[in-house]
């Protein structure tokens, strides 16, 4: 990858701009998912979760949903960051500042990606921090957790860019998130283990890619899940590669960027 970067100052500048952008509006980008996570943990974890019998798994229901919430907000924050940044760039046409510069298409994607990855991981770690108010959660495999956080952020940052290129107005921008990403994430096991579902739905859930991503975060933290860490890691890598290549391709052909 390094030899593909011919303009490191340019990539770093674009990355800085993207990170500066979401930190400058932290009230809209960082704090809302932390507040909603705290509410989820209180309502589902403390109030309702204490009545769910999870003793056989070796940890509480609250400890089970913390990785799920981390994954869910990692997914949505990464997606929202790149989709809003790129779409606003197209809307105001200041995307030309980047398109006119000597950044390769890979470098453009990497620069925009940096913002999505940084915001996703910031929120994900923030949700984990919030969980300490309610319970103790440890990390069984720190490097695996970092791997999954980066891979998931890459997948959904790229998905956000693809959504931003496809959208013609602000309404279209959120369609993928509302009707596809969030439902698949919720069905992928944010709040429930697969073993709680009837057999046919358990089989069906294995076709949901979100399941492997959420399971990867959960396995990294609790060392307990319905599938193996290696399978989750492979699925995450394949999806990240696919989405990255597809996004670079769209930039290269200038899809809705060049007339």
């Amino acid at each position: 990858m390094l030899h593909l970067i011919t303009n490191p100052i340019g990539v770093w500048a674009l990355s800085k701009r993207e990170i500066h952008r979401f930190f400058s509006v932290a009230n809209q980008t960082i704090f809302p998912p932390l507040v909603s996570s705290a509410l989820f943990m209180y309502i589902f974890g403390v109030a309702i979760g204490s009545r769910i019998n999870f003793a056989s798994t070796g940890f509480s229901y609250l400890q089970f949903i913390v990785p799920g919430l981390m994954a869910m907000h990692l997914i949505s924050s990464s997606y929202e960051n790149t989709s809003s940044s790129l779409f606003i760039g197209r809307w105001h046409n200041h995307i030309q500042e980047i398109l006119l510069s000597p950044l390769s298409y890979i470098e453009m994607v990497l620069g925009l990606l940096a913002g999505g990855v940084a915001r996703g991981i910031t929120v994900c770690v923030g949700v984990w921090g919030i969980s300490f108010i309610f319970t103790q959660t440890s990390v069984a495999h720190p490097l695996a957790l970092l791997y999954f956080m980066v891979m998931i952020a890459v997948i959904f940052s790229c998905a956000g860019m693809m959504g931003a290129l496809w959208a013609e107005d602000f309404g279209m921008l959120s369609i993928w998130n509302i009707y596809l990403i969030v439902p698949l994430a919720l069905l992928g096991g944010v709040f429930h283990p697969l073993s709680m579902l009837p057999a046919p739905l358990q089989i069906l859930s294995h076709f949901n890619p979100m399941y492997y991503l959420i399971c990867g975060i959960r396995l990294s933290m609790t060392n307990s899940g319905d599938t193996s860490l290696a399978i989750c890691a492979i699925v995450a890598f394949l999806l990240a590669s696919l989405f990255f290549v597809a996004t670079v391709y769209l930039f290269k052909i200038g899809y809705k960027l060049r007339t």
Partner: protein, 242 residues
Amino acid sequence: MRNSETAISIKSLTKFYKKFQALNEVSFQVKRGDFFAFLGPNGAGKTTTINCLTGLSNYQSGEVKIFGYDVTSEYLHSRRLIGLCAQEFNFDPFLSIYNLLVYQAEYFGIPPLEAKNRANQLLERFNLSDKRNCKHRALSGGMKKRLLLCRALIHDPEILILDEPTAGCDLELKFLIWDYLAQLNREGKTIFLTTHYMEEAEKLCKTIGIINHGGMVRIGDKKQILQDKSLEEIFLEITGSE
């Protein structure tokens, strides 16, 4: 630079917007150090040509080179050589005008310290220093025009492309821009100007090209073109406008 004498070379450039042909086999060259006026009525293909030069538009056929570098296959080289002053105020709304210029310089690979120096120099040159921490929305129309110029010049390009730079400017700003463009041209910059003001082209430019209905209809040295007629008369004759 691969070809140091020909700044812009366009051969048989053809561009369609769906079924509408915006450019039809357009060919011309602009020499290094030239001050080139690219004239034509609205919809003639001026901005489309600029977009093809800068990589903002794809085109169906032809060849576009900047100092010998193909703008499609060698875009990393060609883009370093061009500064574009667009028609519209397309600035990042999240950034102060100072940060906007610094980031723009850094996108071109200019180290941060030098980028800051250049931003300060340009803001001072265009009397925008006291607005450096403002966002572009706080600027007047004239200030935004100046900011467009600052942004186009921040990486010290060899070619400056200006798409109607003085449209909507008051006289004072128009003269300031004219003086600055003439100075840049004297310093060796190649300037490619589109304008609807004939007196602007007549006063500033050395070479004139006129495009109409997507095709080049006249190109040549200003003195050759303007023999016993004004540019306005010639323009109206060629484009058939009334």
